[in-house]
Structures are given as C-alpha cells and as structure tokens.
C-alpha cells in the first residue's frame, strides 16, 4: 500500500459514515433534551390534561437513547465485520511502542513544536486514544447509566431494571448520585464534540490528508506524494 500515496484510499465504508452522521444527530438530540430534563422549560398555564411538554421531551430523550444504544451495538458489530479502519477506535494498540511515539508526535504537533504533520490513512494515534477513551467509553457509560435511570421508571421486574438499575444503583449509592454522574458525563461528551469538530476542521486545513470530505464520501485523499506513516 506504500505506493498508493498519491492515490485515494477508501477508508470509511458506507455503514460507518451513515452511523457517524446519525450518531451526531442523536447526540445533539440527547444533549438538548437531557439538559431540558434537568432544567425544564418555563411552566405552562391551563389544565394539565392539555399539555405534555415534559412527557414529550422525556420521550424524545428515551427514544434517542435507544437509538444511541442500538447504534453503538451496530457500530461494534461493524468493527468486526467492516474494514480495518472501522476497528481503530475500538481497539487502540496500547501495547505498541510506535503507537505511543505517534501519540507523542501528535501532542508536539498540536503544541506547535513540530513543523511537519505526519500522514495518516486512518485516524492519527492521538485521535484513536481520544475517541476510544472519551467517546467509546463515555457513550457506553451514558448508555449504561441511562438505562439504569430508565429502569427506575419501568420498575422492578422490567428488563431495564434487571439488567441495569439493579446493579448500577448500588454502585452509585442512590438515584440522585446516578443522575449527577449522567449529567456530568453529558458535559464530557459536549467537550468531546467541541474538540472533535475543531480538530477535524483544523486537520482538514493543515494536515497532509483530507478530513471533512472523507467522512462524507469515504475516500481519503492526500496533499503530497510522501509515504504515509500508518501503513503496514
């Protein structure tokens, strides 16, 4: 593959791209509705039977939560079924020396201490680390705690309570703590999104490979003919 430097490489397969865009929408929906559950909109007048504001917001949150969970299960399956790039964020090569050198290089690159960025077909090592630990584990945390909170409502005997609430609640001690942690990690995901978008735009402008067009079309193109750094 080292001779494919000036050519395009098909990196993100269609299911990954589709999941990525839907997942982005779901995260926005979950963040907005989740925030409104903790800090509800202004009160509405009239009879209670005429309105279902909070009920609708909570329904959207729960529905989006189910989609997030199903999406992650699908995405994890695709890490197995798809190409090698689909696996990257799930299995960071934490034991590889090259990987950590790559991480270090990327840190220097973001600290303006190296002039030349490296050239990657897939994610750069720092991105892999960031997506794995913040995005994958963060999302998993939100799904588990989210279902545990949902199971409190569906009650004992429901599968949500049996699979999640029954063991998650004792870990956090009580429901209020669980709510607080679910809320805090939402902010972690918000920070992830901010950095993720900024870095994608910045890399698109400064690095030696395409970023934004790649997640739309799936094809990675390169700006020069030098050999890539993450090919085997």
């Amino acid at each position: 593959m080292t001779d494919s430097t000036s050519q395009s490489v098909y990196v993100y397969e269609k299911p990954v791209r589709l999941w990525h865009s839907l997942n982005a929408l779901i995260i926005v929906a979950l963040t907005v509705t989740g925030y409104l559950i903790a800090s509800p909109l202004a009160t509405v007048d009239g009879e209670a039977s005429d309105h279902f504001v909070m009920g609708t917001i909570r329904f959207l949150h729960f529905a989006a939560g189910y989609l997030l969970a199903i999406g992650l299960i699908f995405r994890a399956y695709w890490a197995y079924a798809g190409n090698e790039h689909a696996r990257q964020i799930f299995m960071p090569p934490l034991l590889s020396r090259d990987f950590w050198q790559g991480v270090f290089h990327e840190i220097l690159w973001y600290a303006f201490l190296v002039k030349e960025p490296k050239k990657y077909v897939g994610h750069n090592p720092l991105a892999i680390l960031f997506m794995h630990f913040v995005f994958v584990w963060g999302t998993l945390f939100m799904i588990v705690t989210g279902f545990a909170l949902y199971g409190e409502g569906t009650g004992q005997g429901s599968w949500q309570h049996l699979l999640f609430s029954s063991w998650v609640l004792p870990i956090f001690g009580d429901s209020q703590n669980l709510h607080s942690w679910h809320h805090l990690v939402m902010w972690l995901i918000v920070c992830f999104v901010l950095i993720h978008v900024y870095v994608a735009v910045r890399e698109d402008k400064l690095s030696r490979q395409s970023m934004l067009s790649t997640i739309v079309t799936g094809w990675r193109t390169f700006k020069d003919d030098k050999p890539v750094d993450d090919m085997h």
Partner: protein
C-alpha cells in the same frame, strides 16, 4: 410459657372481630392476598410473641415518635402490645442500673430469638465516647446485643445510612449499623426515612413477628414492599410534571394551583419511599401535598447534597460548591476558550510561515 399475640390483645380488651380486622389490614398493608388473612390470624393465635430489644444510639427519637403515631389506632395498640418493649429507654418505666439489667436479661433469656431494633447509630471516634449508655460506649452495647439476636432492624436514616450526625466532616465518625466493624453477621433490615413512616415500621415488625422471616429486601437491604418505587412514580402531582407545569417561586400561581415542585428541588424523582401512597398521620398528607418538595430523607447521603431547593446536587468532591452544570459548563467553556486560543495561534503560525515564504520568494 410466653403469651401469644392474641392472648395479649384479648387481655388489652380487643375483640375478636377487631383482631380479625387487624389481620386483614396487616395483610393488605404488606401487599398480601386475602388468602393470607387466616394465616396471619393463626400465627398470632398460636405463636409466642417475640421480644424486641429497642436500642437508641446517636439519634433524635423521631423514629420512636413516628412509631407511636402509627396511623391506624388498632394497629398501634396491637403492635405496641406485640412488642415486648422491656427495654426502650425512651418509654420504659425503669431507669438506671435496673434498666440496663433488662438488656442482659433479654439477651440471656431469649438467646438467638429476639429482634434487635436499632434507632440511631454508633459514633466510632474516640473509642465510641461520643455516645455513652449506662457508662459504656453505645457501640459496645450494640455489638453485645447483636451477638445473640435473630435479626436487626435499622430504624430510620441514622441506623440505615448515617444521617445528619454523619454529615461531612463527621467528627464523631457516626457509622450506620451495617458498617460497624466487628458487628455480628446478622440479617439487617433497613427501614430508612427521617423518620420512617409509622405504618411502614409497624408493618415490618408485624411481618417479622407473624411470618418469622425477613420480608423481601432490595439490593440495598430495604423491604421491597415499601421501598421499590419512587415518590415521584406515585405522586398525585405527577400529571403536572408530565405536562410541564412547575412551581417556579413559592408564591406564584402554580404553587397555589398545586403544580409540580420539580424546579423547587423536590427529590421525589430520586427517593424510594411510600410517602405518596401511605402518607402520614393517618393518611392525612405528606410533604408534597403540603406544598413542600421532598427532601429525600430516606436516601443515602441526602444530608450532604447541597440545598433542598436545588434541582442539581452539589458535588463536593472538588472541594468547591458546584453542581453538574457548573462543573460541566465550566469545562465546556474552558475547552471552548482553549480551542479559540489554539485556533488563533494556528492562524498566527500559518501567516508567519506564509509571510516567511513570501519574503523568501522576494529575496530570490
């Protein structure tokens, strides 16, 4: 021979008709089918009553106060006559050494057969010197009584979780029953609440005495029949929550209309208790019905979570007073500012580079 519950009741002047009424009431409050009524009646007629040793540690006696106000007068009379309250330092007649001798007597006489009810908790700091009963630290009395008991009931949030005397920084190291090191390994029923609902307390005792086994407990050791649902799940103001009708100030129209107290920090959505169904004082009312949000008094750590009138809990782990929005919002703002600075530096770096290139080109 020890008297049966029925004997005691008859002696107290309770008719058989009233006795059977009590049995069906107890069955109903325990969530049992009518088929259990004769079983309860039979048990009460034939079984000798089990003595209950009621100890008091660091507490405010609100559990006792609640208990003696058990809603149904008949239930109260019956339970009080069922309980062999030889030792309950709040209401017993004996005092001093005579009173303390009763503890030894019960422990010796009913070894392995009595129920140990603990109200309040034991402070462990300074070898337990912050709570002295009869000249000895309470923790020693508790361990001694627990050694030969059948089961332990942790009355209230003090014995169950620690409650206000265990609030940070907990100078006396007040410790809930199940966390006391070296306590005999006995089944513990937690009946949290500050205080617990009277009917919940009497029902738990009635269950123990009639069935001679523990009621079904949840993962945190609370009787499922009373602690398996949140106040919010059965709150009569729930329709206002779903509609999005909230009290925003204590004196607004929504408060007068009796709308949901969620925004006023009501902890109903995170509190497992039976207040919204059983209610208090013979079913007259409960905090939310009286217009005040639930403070979550039956939940672990409710005393250390910031204002009762805030929706979001305080997070004390950062040694600052903040809630999830303050911490998370600050983090997002810092990340946003960091991105702005980084983007600015990137632009500066780039223009310097292109500038240098241009100068280079001009020189050539």
């Amino acid at each position: 021979m020890i008297e049966t519950f029925y004997d005691v009741m008859r002696r107290q002047g309770i008719t058989r008709r009233s006795f059977l009424k009590f049995c069906s009431l107890t069955a109903a409050s325990l969530g049992l089918s009518p088929a259990f009524v004769p079983k309860i009646a039979h048990a009460m007629e034939t079984k000798p009553r089990i003595p209950v040793l009621w100890l008091h540690g660091l507490e405010c006696t609100c559990c006792s106060e609640s208990f003696i106000r058990s809603g149904h007068p008949l239930a109260k009379d019956v339970i009080l006559s069922m309980l062999s309250l030889d030792y309950d330092d709040t209401i017993m007649a004996a005092a001093g050494h005579n009173a303390e001798a009763i503890v030894d007597e019960i422990v010796e006489k009913y070894k392995g057969n009595y129920i140990l009810a603990v109200e309040g908790n034991a402070p462990l700091a300074e070898d337990g010197m912050y709570c002295i009963i009869g000249g000895k630290p309470f923790v020693e009395q508790l361990k001694y009584a627990a050694e030969s008991c059948k089961a332990i009931i942790s009355w209230g949030s003090c014995a169950s979780w620690g409650c206000v005397q265990a609030a940070k920084p907990n100078p006396t190291r007040a410790t809930p029953t199940h966390k006391i090191p070296g306590l005999a390994d006995k089944p513990i029923i937690k009946v949290p609440g500050c205080p617990p609902i009277a009917e919940v307390m009497t029902a738990v005792v009635a269950y123990l005495l009639t069935f001679e086994k523990l009621p079904a407990l949840d993962k945190q050791g609370r009787p499922q029949m009373f602690y398996s649902q949140r106040i919010h799940d059965k709150c009569y103001r729930r329709p206002h929550f779903d509609a999005g009708q909230f009290v925003e100030h204590w004196d607004d129209e929504a408060a007068r209309q009796g709308h949901c107290l969620y925004k006023m920090g009501c902890k109903g959505p995170t509190t497992y208790n039976a207040c919204s169904t059983v209610r208090w004082n013979e079913g007259v009312s409960f905090p939310i019905q009286a217009g005040h949000g639930c403070i979550g008094c039956s939940e672990d750590g409710f005393w250390d979570k910031g204002g009762f009138y805030e929706r979001l809990s305080d997070i004390n782990d950062f040694s600052i007073e903040a809630n999830a929005d303050a911490v998370g919002g600050t983090a997002a703002a810092v990340v946003g500012a960091g991105i702005a600075v980084h983007a600015g530096l990137t632009a500066l770096n780039r223009s310097r580079k292109t500038g240098a290139n241009q100068t280079g080109a001009e020189q050539q």
